[in-house]
């Protein structure tokens, strides 16, 4: 008989990190367990120990401090979706979390879980990347902050060390007059994961020229894709159909799209073109207060 699975329920981050440091790769962090249970049941992982972080206090906060929206790692997707604080500061974050799976999954899945899982076909990561969010993590060597754009490294791979846990995500609240949207495009059932998901952030000067443009594409490649050079080209130019098409084409050219049951690489490239355009159009049309 294999060793029975050991369960740890630490009550502080330090304690959790110590267990992880001691057990190494044999231990797995569990938060909402929505992803972990599937991996375990399909025998894609076989950990010897589970470190449930559910009892650690202080990881369930939702607040705006110093112009940043701060989400604790244990905040559920559903809480983000419904939070007046989130809706009042960066509504696109609430929208994106509200588009994940179905209400059963959203009630359990956590902010830290979706980050640490780094599934290419998740919704929230693209929004965090587009909004220049920062992921706060803590390990044996203390705390550090990793920009979201550097956090997702590859398929199911993040910048986390094995003894580090995500403790929260901080998202700078965009200046007034910024429009931000997230388009989730599914090709099968409405509860499917995205075929592509595009987050677009746009702020225009009074004369209609671009003050800020940020676009991140999720689910189309291994990690969320953002091309700052392409974004930079748009700055200072009038946001007309030509410019939007240029950005959309540049994204379609640059994303090295993947193939799966939700769409071929060819189709995804076409969808990147369509949805980048639509995201910029709708972000420009709907600036937040």
């Amino acid at each position: 008989m294999p060793e029975p699975l050991r369960l740890f329920q630490p009550t502080s981050i330090e304690e959790a990190v110590a267990v992880l440091a001691e057990l190494g790769d044999d231990a797995k962090v569990v938060a909402g367990a929505t992803a972990l249970t599937l991996l375990y049941r399909q025998r894609l992982i076989a950990p010897g120990a589970l470190v449930s972080i559910g009892r650690i206090p202080g990881l369930k906060t939702i607040e705006v401090v110093d112009g940043e929206l701060r989400l604790g790692a244990l905040v559920s997707h559903r809480e983000v979706e419904l939070s007046p604080v989130v809706r009042g500061s960066i509504p696109v974050v609430a929208d994106a979390f509200g588009k994940v799976a179905n209400v059963r999954v959203r009630n359990a899945a956590t902010v830290g879980g979706v980050m640490a899982e780094s599934d290419y076909a998740s919704d929230p990561p693209a929004v965090f990347v587009a909004l220049d969010a920062v992921v706060d993590v803590q390990g044996s060597n203390g705390k550090r902050s990793i920009p979201a754009s550097e956090f997702f490294v590859a398929f199911y791979e993040t910048a986390l060390e094995h003894d580090e846990i995500v403790i929260g995500v901080r998202v700078p609240v965009p200046p007034a007059g910024t429009g931000a949207v997230y388009h989730k495009f599914v090709t099968r059932s409405s509860e499917d994961r995205p075929c592509v998901g595009v987050a677009g952030v746009v702020r225009l000067h009074a004369d209609g020229t671009v003050a800020d443009l940020r676009v991140a594409v999720g689910a189309a490649a291994e990690t969320p894709q953002r091309f700052r050079d392409t974004e930079a080209l748009a700055i200072g130019k009038p946001l007309d159909a030509d410019l939007i098409a240029q950005v959309a084409d540049a994204y379609a050219d640059q994303v090295d799209t993947l193939d799966d049951m939700r769409g071929s690489a060819w189709y995804r490239t076409e969808m990147v073109r369509v949805w980048v355009r639509r995201a910029i159009e709708s972000a420009a049309a709907a600036p937040a207060r």
């Binding site: 599937l38 399909q42 499917d192 076409e270 369509v274």
Partner: protein
């Protein structure tokens, strides 16, 4: 239409009237179901019960070179480790089963035929021990050349899935076996009506098109589960079966027992949809119990369920000939159904699927060849629609393709051809209860069909509508029997072996019994099946139970009524002819003060209870070569109309409205009737737009609910209309459990065509296929414009 002999016109039932009678429930156990009070087999435990787990083949086709179970046997808690060889070497049991051919081994014997086939089974004190043991089993395979597609399986030098022809069992009354030794054709069905060559010779137009559908899975909420107890010399199984008596006869055969000593008990099911018709987990679980001497439970995981049984993938080629006036006069169909590694009910399904391609039309010259083909994929069997969904996808798509080629209104073209009374269908049966015109008119009217369909453009999106109309048989011959007893207080027990699987069978039976005996539904209890105590029913499938068991129960209640009347006649000294049943009493007609209650009459009879039986048996059959005869006791009829919105930039299809019309003959329970139609829509919508089992070298790629999509509530159209047609004179119940399903896929496909000009013939209609189609149309349009422009310049010069 003028000049058409129409039958008795139907009347549209008010499906929104809530309940059939005041106080009657939509579904009697609805509250218990949603509050988790209903017990399923998965909840069952017996003292000393072991848990079984199964090691499954990782190769699609292979010889088993070696199986080493030594280490597995050492695992603490493991009681039995079983292989196919262990079973074959016993003389007291048989190693193979299967409803038509005994081609399926309880555990693979020397050879595996699909990825997911059961190879080694372990029974242990808990699942962890069983799983640990399976991890220690070593199996060595020598891979053999597999066949997956029709072309591979039917190639001249194809490797045979079953090199030795499988043994046929006691035959079904309605199955004609034409298996072809030395090939992968498991069975074939032929139909020859009229003279096909003459038909095509007389035709002004002939069109040939090919259609395909992938395999899909039933995805019942409750996966297959069996608890078997063979401790004594009898065998008792509690199992998730839609056909308990089939399980009984197969187990009796495997264990060489009289049928009476095999007891099959069925609780309510968490959905079946055809996937629980034929033996599946039962022989293996019973075998483990038999060998271990302990009760054993086997409950399939979702992943296992995906390869336990599937719906046939199909390829149908239709060649259709029409006269210049639009009348279809000849049709030749070649149908291939991928039945996977084991026949299951494929040999019979190809008959209904094949006949189905005749459509709801009177075609004088029909030629049908339908084949079940063995491949190295998971077995395919019965699935809601029973081959007719696939057939309808072909013929209801082709009729529209033809209409388009001829520049005709597809509604009018159908109206020119739909069956009316006095005409014959594909099997040569004379129609006497035809309602196809009414059904099609109903959905066309409610969706707002107009011709030509001018797509409505809203931004990047276009909207349009599509129609379809289908015919489906129901298993014939068939038999249902029931027994009822009226108790000393006038309440009633109905004993049937029809299976409640969420469709509301028990409620329907209670309503019919209560109606016949004029008593409150709340005083009727309908049993679940237990083959030791409840009388025979052939199957709970083929949309037959409300009709077939309904008749048997009504007749049995008639027997009770006769006894009540006889007792009352003596008690009241009034002739039977002057008495009637009314609200739990027998009373004098016209003199309600002269009455006596059922309780008093039962007590007066002094037998403790009144007993009666009822049966309903239908006859029929087809000529083995021409396929002419009687294929169905009556014909199920439905039409559907969809309105879709297609995003022209992504190809994504959204069904925004759907109208279903079904012929019910008589609606027993309006709430349940409407829910069946909605359920059919949810199934069909998934099949139309995204459901598909995807294989790579025989290995299922999406065998879990994260990767395999079914329709969710949010995918359902915003507007859904259900019309159920009754016919009060004949007043004969027609099943509607499947009837509304076959129209859904083609109605959606036709709407997509009218919206976009893109015709998809290989289901599902994915966004990507539609976008590719749109791009091709655009390229063709540009090329045509270039030619025009060049021609224009040419003449100008």
């Amino acid at each position: 239409m003028s000049g058409v002999v129409k039958g008795l016109p139907g009347t549209w039932a008010d499906t929104h009237r809530g309940t059939a009678q005041p106080g009657q429930p939509g579904m009697m156990d609805a509250r218990d179901r949603v509050t988790g009070k209903v017990d399923y087999v998965i909840n069952m435990t017996l003292p000393g019960m072991l848990h079984a787990m199964v090691l499954r083949s990782t190769a699609p086709a292979a010889r088993i070179v070696r199986i080493d179970t030594e280490k597995a046997r050492q695992v603490p808690g493991v009681v039995t480790v079983l292989t196919g060889r262990d079973i074959v070497s016993r003389t007291d049991v048989r190693s193979h089963f299967g409803p038509v051919f005994r081609d399926q081994p309880v555990l693979a014997v020397d050879r595996v035929r699909f990825v997911g086939e059961a190879v080694v089974a372990v029974a242990a004190v808990d699942r962890d021990a069983a799983r640990a043991a399976l991890d220690l089993v070593e199996v060595e395979y020598e891979e053999l050349p597999p066949v997956f597609t029709f072309d591979e399986a039917l190639a001249e030098d194809a490797a045979l899935v079953h090199p030795e022809p499988p043994r046929a069992g006691a035959t079904f009354a309605d199955i004609i076996v034409h298996s072809q030794a030395g090939s992968n054709v498991c069975n074939s069905f032929t139909l020859r009506k009229g003279n096909i060559d003459e038909g095509f010779a007389q035709a002004d137009h002939v069109f040939e098109d090919t259609f395909t559908c992938p395999a899909v899975q039933h995805v019942p909420l409750e996966t297959h589960c069996t608890v078997a107890d063979a401790r004594t010399s009898d065998i008792v199984v509690h199992t998730t079966s839609q056909i308990p008596f089939m399980v009984r006869s197969q187990l009796a055969e495997v264990f060489n027992l009289p049928a009476s000593r095999v007891r099959v008990v069925v609780h309510t099911l968490g959905g079946g949809y055809g996937g629980k018709c034929y033996p599946n987990t039962e022989p293996l679980t019973a075998m483990l119990s038999f060998v271990s001497g302990r009760p054993v439970k086997l409950h399939l995981t979702r992943e296992e369920e995906f390869t336990a049984i599937t719906r046939h993938a199909m390829r149908i080629t239709l060649k259709t000939g029409l006269r210049a006036d639009g009348k279809v006069i000849a049709r030749k169909s070649t149908c291939h159904f991928n039945t996977g590694a084991y026949a299951d009910i494929g040999p019979r399904l190809i008959k209904m699927g094949g006949i189905g391609t005749g459509g709801p039309m009177s075609i004088p010259h029909v030629w049908i060849d339908s084949y079940a083909v063995y491949t190295n994929l998971p077995p395919a069997g019965a699935y809601r629609g029973y081959g007719v969904s696939q057939a309808a996808w072909a013929y209801e798509t082709q009729i529209e393709m033809i209409a388009q080629r001829l520049g005709r209104d597809p509604y009018e073209l159908r109206k020119k051809n739909l069956l009316v009374n006095g005409e014959t269908n594909a099997t040569g049966e004379i129609m006497d209860d035809s309602h196809w015109h009414e059904l099609l008119d109903e959905v066309a009217g409610k969706i707002g069909w107009t011709w030509p369909q001018v797509p409505q453009r809203i931004g990047n999106k276009v909207r349009a509508k599509g129609l379809s109309c289908i015919i489906k048989g129901t298993v014939t011959p068939s038999a249902s029997t029931s027994m009822v007893k009226m108790n000393e207080d006038g309440s009633l027990n109905v004993m049937t072996s029809s299976v409640e699987m969420g469709q509301g069978l028990q409620t329907a039976m209670a309503i019919l019994a209560a109606e016949r005996l004029s008593m409150p539904v709340g005083k009727v209890l309908v049993s679940t099946p237990d083959t030791a105590f409840t009388p025979y029913d052939q199957q709970t499938s083929s949309s037959r139970s409300t009709h077939s068991m309904g008749m048997a129960v009504t007749r049995a209640c008639g027997g009770i009524a006769d006894q009540l009347l006889a007792q009352a006649s003596e008690a009241l000294e009034i002739a039977v002819a002057d008495l009637e049943l009314r609200d739990g009493k027998v009373q004098a007609k016209g003199a309600p003060d002269k009455s006596v209650g059922y309780a008093a009459l039962v007590q007066r009879q002094k037998g403790g209870n009144l007993l009666a039986t009822g049966e309903y048996i239908t006859g029929g059959g087809l000529d083995p070569v021409t396929g002419q005869g009687k294929a169905a006791v009556h014909w199920h009829q439905a039409a559907g109309a969809a309105e879709v919105e297609v995003d022209l930039e992504t190809g994504k299809v959204d069904v925004i409205a759907y109208e279903a019309a079904v012929y019910a003959g008589r609606v027993v329970n309006p709430v349940q009737a409407e829910l069946q139609a909605e359920g059919n829509l949810a199934f069909g919508l998934g099949h139309a737009l995204f459901e598909e089992m995807v294989y790579d070298n025989g290995q299922l790629q999406n065998g879990n609910l994260g990767d395999y999509m079914i329709c969710s509530f949010e995918d359902m159209p915003e507007r859904v209309g259900v019309s159920t047609l009754e016919e009060p004179v004949l007043n004969e119940i027609h099943g509607i459990g499947e009837t509304g399903l076959p129209p859904v896929m083609p109605a959606i496909g036709n709407a997509v065509f009218h919206a976009t000009g893109v015709r998809i013939t290989d289901a599902p209609i994915t966004a990507e296929k539609v976008l590719r189609g749109l791009r091709q149309l655009e390229t063709a349009r540009l090329a045509a414009a270039a030619v025009m422009a060049a021609a224009g310049t040419g003449t100008a010069r």
